[in-house]
Amino acid sequence: MQDFAFAFLNLEIVREAWPILWSGFLYTVALSLMTVPLGLLGGVALALLATSGPRAVRLAAAGWTDLFRAIPPLVLLVFLYAGLPFAGFDISAWGAVAIGFFLNTGAYYGEVLRAGIESVPRGQMEAARSTGLSRGQALAHVVLPQAVRNVLPDLISNTLEVVKLTSIASVVALPELLFQARQAQSVTYNATPIVAAAVAYFLLLWPLVRLVSRLENKAMAGR
């Protein structure tokens, strides 16, 4: 028992590794704050193209969405980071993460928002247009607000997944929480920093998990 506490719950190690863990935590938060808006932006664009463009554009948007939902994000990241330099594009780890996460989360947000837009009855758009609003205005003021409301649980749940996704940036050595915890582990020869990182992820995301769980239960009960 004491051995277990020494190896996994060692407060001395936590104190020693605190600065590096804290910097990793902040990096994870910053990475999430960058990825979520980027993904939302890409998602809105994809959803609009998939629902209201000409037929060819709609198909292309749906194909793009399926493509990046089918490729595991880690594969995309490795491809960008380790593969592209062979073609003479030397992108930094940071660039690979930004592009990879944008492509992946954009596709997921796009799929959620597309379902939301399709859930808004066609008459809403027609009524809005007949009051003299332009297409863009009708989308922005009438259709999108209802669409977002209809799929809010899925949007929040996806955001939770995006924050969790940032942990794979550790594979290309970005100094986020998991990477820093591994560094601290290899310096201290002790598993406590990884446990501490897990606790940090849990504390950061638990409120969001509770919220999603409540919204999802409500959505399913309301059918």
């Binding site: 996994f8 595991p72 594969v75 490795v78 073609a87 998991l178 915890a181 897990a198 995301l205």
Partner: protein, 226 residues
């Protein structure tokens, strides 16, 4: 070499691809096996937890809710790293394959329990009462009346979640599992050419595009009319 030629040489080098095709094919098989093990175990454990939760034993249910929340909040890679690099400190060493399987099974278990449970609670109370009044026991009611109705509405969210978690098998490459990505990365470092990685990406597309399309079909097929 022109730009286009060097692009082809790097990413679609047929000679390199042919040389590493067997390695990637083996990785493909390993990914499929790993994914199936995760899906079967994760869905079964999730259903078991949801059934236990329906007994309404308060302390036990708190435990279940905590475990479910925990594995919904932790990134899968963190769990894999904890099991693979952390457990040896407790004198337990598990293989990368086992660590990946166990982590993703636990994550799928948590998400599946939550979905099954939402499905069970969505079945109107009157169904329970009517079934019990015909003389069915608690478990019979659950099995014959409630679960058939509950499972039907859980199919779309469950399918999509299962697909998303199954894609996490690529994380196994971080702990040395030679699944598709792991095999493609060793192919790339042996040949000093990223074509094996292209091959790996194609393998993932062959595996997951049909699954993603299936998920979309299931969603419309089982959708409830609003």
């Amino acid at each position: 070499m022109s730009g286009f030629e060097s692009f082809l040489f790097s990413f679609f080098n047929l000679k390199v691809m042919a040389a590493y095709l067997p390695l990637i094919a083996k990785g493909f098989g390993l990914t499929v096996v790993l994914a199936l093990l995760i899906v079967v175990c994760g869905l079964a454990l999730g259903l078991a937890l949801a059934v236990v939760r329906s007994f309404g034993l308060r302390v036990l249910n708190w435990g279940i809710i905590f475990v479910v929340d925990l594995f919904r909040a932790l990134p899968p890679l963190v769990i894999i790293v904890l099991l693979f690099f952390g457990l040896p400190a407790a004198g337990i060493s598990i293989s990368g394959f086992a660590a990946t399987w166990l982590s993703l099974t636990l994550v799928l278990m948590a998400f599946a329990e939550e979905i099954y449970w939402a499905g069970i609670t969505a079945v109107p109370k009157g169904q329970w009462e009517a079934a019990r009044s015909t003389g069915l026991g608690f478990l019979q009611t659950l099995r014959l009346v409630v679960l058939p109705q509950a499972l039907r509405i859980t199919i779309p969210p469950l399918t999509n979640r299962t697909i998303a978690i199954t894609k996490g098998t690529a994380l196994g490459s971080v702990v040395g599992v030679a699944e598709i990505l792991g095999a493609a990365q060793s192919g790339m470092s042996f040949s000093a050419n990223p074509s094996p990685l292209t091959l790996g990406a194609i393998a993932y597309l062959i595996l997951f595009i049909p699954v993603v399309a299936l998920g979309r079909w299931v969603e419309t097929r089982f959708a409830w009319k609003r």
